[in-house]
Symmetry: C2
Subunit: 348 residues, 2 copies
C-alpha cells in the first residue's frame, strides 16, 4: 500500500502543513516536502514536486487552507478577499489542468458559505481540504471498480505519463483501473511510455507499479506503434487533465497514442474523476501550457541533448478528439463520449 | 560545408586508416576516431561512433579494406577466406541496415574479381572503399536534387532521427532533400524529433543543420502529433535502413510518425540510395535489432529514468508499410511505392 501523495499534518511540530512526496526526486530518492505556505504550494505545483490533475486538485485545496491560516486580518470579508487573491496565484501555476481551478473554487465557495468567526471559517477550510483528499481516494477506487470491467484477463495495457496513485492523493485513475482489474482477479501487465520530456512514465508509473508488485515494462515513446503492430498491446488507458465536450486534454503525446490505437483497432480509454469535466467548453477554447525549453533541450538539466542556439518547443499537453476515445471511466461508470455528454452536460 | 563523416587517410603517420567523426560525442564535442583495424571498425559500428545506413555502408567497405591490409598470408585464395571471415564479423554488428552487407559484399566481390598479387588486390580494395565513399556523396546530391521537387517554398518539414550528412559520408538523404530544396532557392524550416532512445535527432540533426545555417527546432517525440494537428508541419521526410517490397525499415518511431502523417493528410517521403533497396524481401522477413535496455532505462548512462528491476524494451528500428508512404526518393528520381517496385524489382 503506497503512502498518500499529499496529506494534511494535524499535529506535531509541523501541525497545519501539507506533506508531499517529492515527485521530482523519484525514482532514485523517496523524500517529502513539508509545505507551510500558500506561496510554497504554488511553487510545488509549478515545479511539479506535485503533479497529476487530481493531486493538483488536492494541492490547490490545501494551498487555500494554508492561505487562510496565513490571513492576519480580523474580518470574514477580508479573509474572502485574501482567498480570492490566493486563488488567482494558485490558478496561474498550471493553466491546463482544470482540477486546479476546481480545488481552489471549492475552498473559496466553502469560505463564502460558512458563517462564523475568522477562526471558524479557517477550521472549516482545513476540514474541507482534508475532505477533498479523502474523497479523491474514494473516487479513484470507484473509477477502478468501474474501469476493471473493460480490462480482460491477460491484457497488456499501455499507459502514458503517470495517472497513478502519484497523480492523485492515492490509488490512481488510469492505474486505478489497472489496480481495480487486478483486485478483480485478472492478470494484467503494463507497458509504460516513458513520456518525454518530464519522463513521468519512466520515473513515476514504473516506480509505483513496481512498489505494488504489478508487472511493468518501460518503453521509449517511439516504440508504442511497433508494439501495437506486433500485437503486444491490447488496451490503452490514460488519465486526463481536462475533459471538454469534444475532446480530452492530457499529457503531451497522449494524442498520438490515441491515433496509433485507432489505426490498430485497439480500444483507448480515459479514466478521470468528474472534477476533470469541463463540458461547457470545446477543445479550441483551452490554452495549452508551454513550459521552458530546457525541459526538452536537456534531461532534467543533467544531460544536454541539442546544441546551444537551437530552439525547442515544449507543449505540456495535447488534446485528443472524442472520435479517438473508446470510453471514459468516471466514478459513476464507463461512458462513451456521447453518453458522457448526456450524463454530465448539465454540469457545464 | 561539413567535413565528411568518414574518410580514408592516404598519407602521414595514420596512412591507410579510416577517420570518423565520433558521433557519440556530438553535439557537445567535435572529435575524431582513427580506425586502423577491421575489428576496431566493427566496434565503431556496434557502438554507433558511426551510424546511419549509408555511412555504415562506407564504414563496412573501409572495414574490409582494413581487413585486407591486416592479412599476413601470401596467397590470393587465403586473402579471400580472410575477407569472408571479416565480412561475417562486420555484418553481425547491426542486423537491420542492409547497407552494411551491401558494403562488405561489394568489397568481397571486388577481391574475387581482381587478378594479381595479394598486394595488388589490397590496393584495389582500398581504391574500391574510397570509391564507395565518393559515390555516396554524389548519390546524395542527386537524391537532394530529385527530392527538392516535393518540397514547397515555405514548408516546415518534420524529420526523425538523423538521415543527414552524419548518417552518410556527406550531404545526407532526408536532410539532402532539405539541402537540395534550399539550394533550389526555397525557404525551408526543419522540426527535428529528438528520437529516443539514442537522441540522434536532437544531437546530430540539430547539430548539422545549425552548422549549415538551416533553421531547425528540436521537439520531444511526443509532440509531433500536436504540431501536425496545429498545421505546423507540411511534409515529413525520413531516411531508411532497408526498403523491402512492402515497407520501409528505419529508426524506431518512424512508423508512428507515418501513421500520424497519414491521419493528418501530410505527405510522408522516404529518401534513400538504391543500395538500401532489398526488394526481394518482405517486412516479415526482416529481423529488427534489439539493443541493450540501458539505452532506454537511462540517457547515455548519465541519468537513470526508471527504477532498478523494471525491464525495458529497446527495438532499434520499426517497419512502415508502403500504404503509409507517399513517395521514395532515390538517386534516380521520386517514385510511388508501386513505381519503385516496377523500376527496381529486377534488382532483387
Amino acid at each position: 500500500m503506497l503512502e498518500r501523495t499529499i496529506s494534511w499534518i494535524d499535529g506535531g511540530p509541523d501541525k497545519n502543513s501539507a506533506k508531499l512526496i517529492d515527485q521530482t526526486k523519484l525514482p532514485l530518492e523517496y523524500t517529502h516536502v513539508i509545505v507551510k505556505t500558500c506561496e510554497r504550494m504554488a511553487r510545488a505545483i509549478k515545479t511539479m514536486e506535485i503533479r497529476g490533475a487530481p493531486a493538483i486538485g488536492a494541492a490547490a485545496a490545501m494551498g487555500m487552507a494554508l492561505a487562510a491560516l496565513e490571513y492576519e486580518g480580523k474580518t470574514r470579508e477580508g479573509l474572502i478577499v485574501h482567498l480570492e487573491r490566493s486563488k488567482r496565484i494558485l490558478d496561474s501555476q498550471r493553466p491546463t489542468a482544470v482540477n486546479l481551478m476546481w480545488g481552489t473554487k471549492r475552498l473559496l465557495d466553502k469560505a463564502a458559505s460558512t458563517a462564523g468567526t475568522v477562526g471558524e471559517v479557517v477550521e472549516a477550510l482545513i476540514a474541507e481540504a482534508k475532505a477533498v483528499a479523502d474523497e479523491d481516494v474514494e473516487i479513484n477506487r470507484r473509477i477502478g471498480q468501474h474501469g476493471s470491467t473493460v480490462i480482460a484477463d491477460g491484457d497488456t495495457v499501455l499507459t502514458h505519463c503517470n495517472a497513478g496513485a502519484l497523480a492523485c492523493v492515492g490509488y490512481g485513475t488510469a492505474l486505478g483501473v489497472i489496480r481495480g482489474a487486478i483486485e478483480a482477479g485478472k492478470k494484467v501487465k503494463v507497458i509504460s511510455d516513458e513520456t518525454r520530456p518530464r519522463l513521468q512514465g519512466a520515473s513515476l508509473t514504473c516506480w509505483e507499479l513496481k512498489e505494488d508488485g504489478i508487472p511493468v515494462t518501460q518503453i521509449a515513446d517511439t516504440e508504442a506503434g511497433l508494439l501495437m503492430r506486433m500485437g503486444k498491446i491490447q488496451k490503452v488507458v490514460v488519465g486526463a487533465d481536462r475533459i471538454v465536450a469534444d475532446g480530452v486534454f492530457n499529457k503531451i503525446g497522449t494524442y498520438q497514442v490515441a491515433i496509433m490505437a485507432n489505426f490498430h483497432g485497439i480500444p483507448f480509454y480515459v479514466a478521470a474523476p468528474v472534477s476533470t469535466l469541463d463540458l461547457a467548453r470545446k477543445m479550441d477554447g483551452v490554452e495549452i501550457e508551454q513550459r521552458d525549453e530546457w525541459e526538452v533541450k536537456t534531461v532534467f538539466k543533467k544531460v544536454q541533448l541539442s546544441p546551444d542556439g537551437v530552439p525547442a518547443i515544449n507543449y505540456a499537453f495535447d488534446g485528443t478528439p472524442m472520435e479517438l476515445v473508446t470510453g471514459i471511466v468516471t466514478e459513476d461508470g464507463v461512458f462513451t463520449p456521447k453518453e458522457l455528454l448526456e450524463r454530465y452536460q448539465a454540469k457545464g
